[in-house]
């Protein structure tokens, strides 16, 4: 008894130690030349929300880093990832402020909780740029986002079009939404539902998917197929690409050819683009993340230098409950088999990543060459 309580004590101590160590670890970003004050090369911080969707670490961060190097080679960029934990993100914000950041570019984990980040930043005279989900009820310097409801409508309209082509204009369909409570997903859902109502498309089953987990989406789809029968649905609205992958896997295990049931997505994941090329996934909603990140770097430099941000970055204002936030809306639009070549031709998508290995032949069929 005595021994076990001793051991438990040690365990708790060790757990505390680990927590402290991890805090210390997240606290240290790059540590070259940290000076403060509004100068020509301000320190800029990028706080990513999670590692599950490739968007942040694979697209946003590299594009931001690249652009900043071009326009301000001496600027220091600190980066951190909150692993889906809002409180960790707040802590990371405090750390980068302490580390001398003059601008925080954040893609908030939780757009409401991130008001705390904005408040800390404001108190320390640090500018905050909100990417993606707009930080609510707080003073935010700038926002770069997409028309989220439009993204939902785009997905739903694409699906409606495909359903009509296949002779089932009224569905029914299955709706696989993202994480419950996600404000962005709620807007997309609303946009999509409007379209379904307008077109008279029946939504037979709806699911919310914790953490946007693809394997969870797969199980949801398994169960939808069981509940509705193999011929009880003619298309699937999936809110993003990862989940679309799960949905398509579920169809395959039920011996349903995914080419006969249009599935939507969002994020232009490489895996999803490959599925579009082979015809397994009907569409993905394109988001010009590179453009978003590039413009974010531009805005950050202006703000960090204490300059006026040029008007070209202010395409709209969006009210976040406390103020009208100057906003840059980056490009979105549906990618499907018919128009995907154009995206490669315009170099908005990287063919060398998509058309590799088993997918070379399918790419060639669509006239896409690396």
């Amino acid at each position: 008894m005595n021994r076990s309580s001793l051991r438990r004590g040690r365990m708790v101590a060790a757990a505390v130690l680990i927590t402290t160590a991890s805090v210390a670890l997240t606290a240290c970003g790059d540590s070259d030349g940290g000076d403060s004050g509004k100068n020509a090369s301000p320190t800029i911080a990028y706080l990513a929300p999670e590692t599950i969707t490739p968007r942040y670490e694979a697209i946003e961060k590299p594009a931001l880093t690249k652009r900043l190097k071009e326009i301000c080679p001496d600027c220091r960029l600190i980066t951190a990832n909150a692993n889906s934990d809002p409180s960790q993100q707040l802590q990371q914000a405090e750390n980068v402020i302490a580390d001398g950041a003059k601008v925080i570019i954040t893609n908030p984990v939780d757009s409401k909780a991130a008001a705390g980040i904005a408040a800390r930043a404001e108190a320390n005279d640090v500018a905050v740029i909100s990417l993606g989900r707009l930080i609510q009820n707080a003073n935010v310097s700038w926002s770069l986002t997409m028309d989220t409801a439009q993204a939902g409508r785009d997905k739903a309209l694409s699906l409606a079009e495909a359903l009509a082509e296949q002779g089932h204009p009224k569905g029914p369909i299955v709706m696989i939404n993202g994480a419950p409570g996600d404000t962005d997903d709620a807007k997309m859902k609303q946009g999509a539902e409007e379209v379904f109502k307008e077109k008279g498309i029946e939504v037979a089953m709806r699911f919310d998917t914790p953490q946007w987990d693809p394997s969870k989406a797969q199980q949801e789809m398994d169960q939808a197929i069981t509940a509705l029968g193999r011929d009880g649905f003619f298309g699937v609205y999936s809110s993003n690409d990862g989940m679309a992958g799960g949905v398509i896997a579920a169809m395959k295990s039920a011996n349903i050819d995914p080419r006969t049931r249009p599935v939507t997505g969002l994020d232009n994941d490489v895996a999803a683009l490959q599925r579009i090329i082979t015809g397994e996934q009907y569409m993905t909603e394109f988001q010009d993340i590179v453009d978003e990140a590039t413009k974010a770097a531009d805005v950050a430099l202006h703000l960090g230098r204490g300059e006026e941000v040029p008007a070209q970055y202010k395409e709209a204002t969006v009210n976040n409950g406390k103020m009208d936030v100057p906003t840059y809306l980056f490009e979105i639009g549906p990618i499907n088999q018919k128009n995907i070549k154009q995206y490669f031709d315009e170099e908005k998508l990287d063919a060398s990543k998509v058309c590799s290995g088993d997918f070379v032949a399918a790419c060639q069929k669509l006239g896409i060459t690396v």
Partner: protein
């Protein structure tokens, strides 16, 4: 609560192979509680949506739980020692990523890639085991560190793209193939025959205290439900689309593990260490070696679980192995009746526990219920199962 060490010293009476399937026959509360729980839950879900009890759905259910069941069985090994492995989810994700990258990016044939992935898991497990035994760091801490570390390595292995489609037909076939019917029938009949025969042989090995031999009917009776389940289940699956290959893989792993754990010296030593490590050490058990081997097996099984999950999803991504996988794996073992304090539990219990948890998720999705309910219900079932088990044990202890 504890299995005495002396049990490990009286194996002569029992032929090892007769304990291959050490199915609990009597006095095993955990097993029976879960079985009743599953029957009750299935009845409830059937009442709410009759499609729940279609063969198609149950076949799906088996496919859905395959990966988590393998992790759950892996958890049993360390739990028997009174240790824990919190890194199983991360290890499963990492090893699946290793398999996918080695196969699709480097071009290694799929079977070799799978072997590489499992070896990767085993090596990780050995590292956990060595740190635990050499430095005396609690496994809770070592594997908590592992949870974060291996998740990081997984992200690095997947690279900036973050997700990989699995197109290799061999890997995909692991979870999407149904075995030919003649093979399905052979396995079903052999398994049933074996279950009956082993009960008789097992009985002959054990003399009843009173000296008299119980009638063969009495010996076979406790096995009838299980045999019936195997026969009915096998027949239904074969008549549907066939027995899924992955179900046979999981059962083969379970059988092998059960054999090693109950009929081999190393397995009995494992139970002995879990009951009382010091006593085991004094009686000559090489505690450290067995512990390292146990962590290696657990991580190796985590790798296998990850491979099955990836095969089923046709993809590996940054979220593979994360989310609730680890918690469900451990919960499955605990709901089945495996003790967190070591020395008590079987792989079959972990399988049943996974089946129960899997049924909850399956049924709730079928009813299109919000996922908030799913976590709440699973949590409640976990606590309920342990409470019922504790009450049953207490009553048994009072009866002496």
């Amino acid at each position: 609560m504890t299995v005495s060490v002396s049990r490990s010293e009286q194996p002569q009476a029992v032929r090892p192979w007769s304990r291959l399937l050490a199915l609990p026959s009597g006095g095993d509360h955990g097993f029976r509680t879960v079985l009743i729980g599953i029957v009750g839950l299935w009845a409830l879900l059937y009442a709410l949506n009759p499609r729940f009890l279609t063969v198609g759905n149950l076949s799906n259910l088996l496919l859905q739980i395959a990966a988590v069941a393998v992790l759950s069985m892996g958890a049993v090994i360390v739990l028997l020692l009174g240790e824990i492995d919190l890194s199983m989810g991360s290890v499963s994700g990492l090893c699946a990523a290793v398999m996918a990258v080695v196969n699709s990016k480097i071009g290694v044939p799929a079977p070799l890639a799978i072997v590489a992935a499992i070896l990767c898991g085993v090596v990780i497990g050995v590292m956990h085991g060595v740190v635990v035994t050499r430095f005396g760091v609690p496994s809770f801490v070592v594997t908590l560190g592992g949870l974060l570390t291996w998740q990081g390595v997984q992200l690095a292995v997947l690279g900036e793209q973050g997700n990989l489609n699995i197109t290799d037909s061999f890997i995909v076939s692991l979870t999407s193939t149904y075995v030919p019917n003649w093979f399905g029938w052979t396995v079903t009949l052999l398994a049933s025959a074996y279950l009956l025969a082993s009960a008789l042989i097992h009985q002959r090995g054990h003399r009843h205290p009173s000296g008299e031999q119980p009638s063969w009917l009495k010996v076979l009776l406790p096995r009838i439900p299980v045999v019936a389940l195997v026969l009915i289940g096998g027949t239904l699956l074969i008549n549907h689309r066939g027995i899924p290959l992955v179900v046979l893989i999981v059962l083969a792993v379970a059988t092998l593990m059960s054999y090693v754990l109950t009929a081999r010296k190393v397995g009995r030593h494992l139970y002995a260490i879990g009951s009382n490590a010091e006593a085991a050490r004094r009686s000559g058990v090489r505690v450290d070696r067995i512990k390292v081997a146990a962590f290696a097996c657990t991580a190796g099984l985590a790798a296998l679980g990850g491979i099955l999950a990836a095969s089923r999803l046709f993809a590996v991504n940054q979220s593979s192995g994360q989310g609730s996988l680890l918690l469900l794996a451990i919960a499955g073992a605990v709901i089945g009746g495996v003790s967190l304090f070591g020395g008590v539990g079987t792989v079959w219990q972990a399988l049943l526990g996974s089946l129960l948890i899997g049924s909850i998720a399956n049924g709730m999705d079928l009813l299109s219920m919000p996922s908030s309910y799913r976590f709440t219900v699973t949590g409640a079932v976990l606590v309920l199962a342990v409470v019922i088990d504790a009450l049953a044990r207490r009553r048994a202890a009072q009866r002496g």
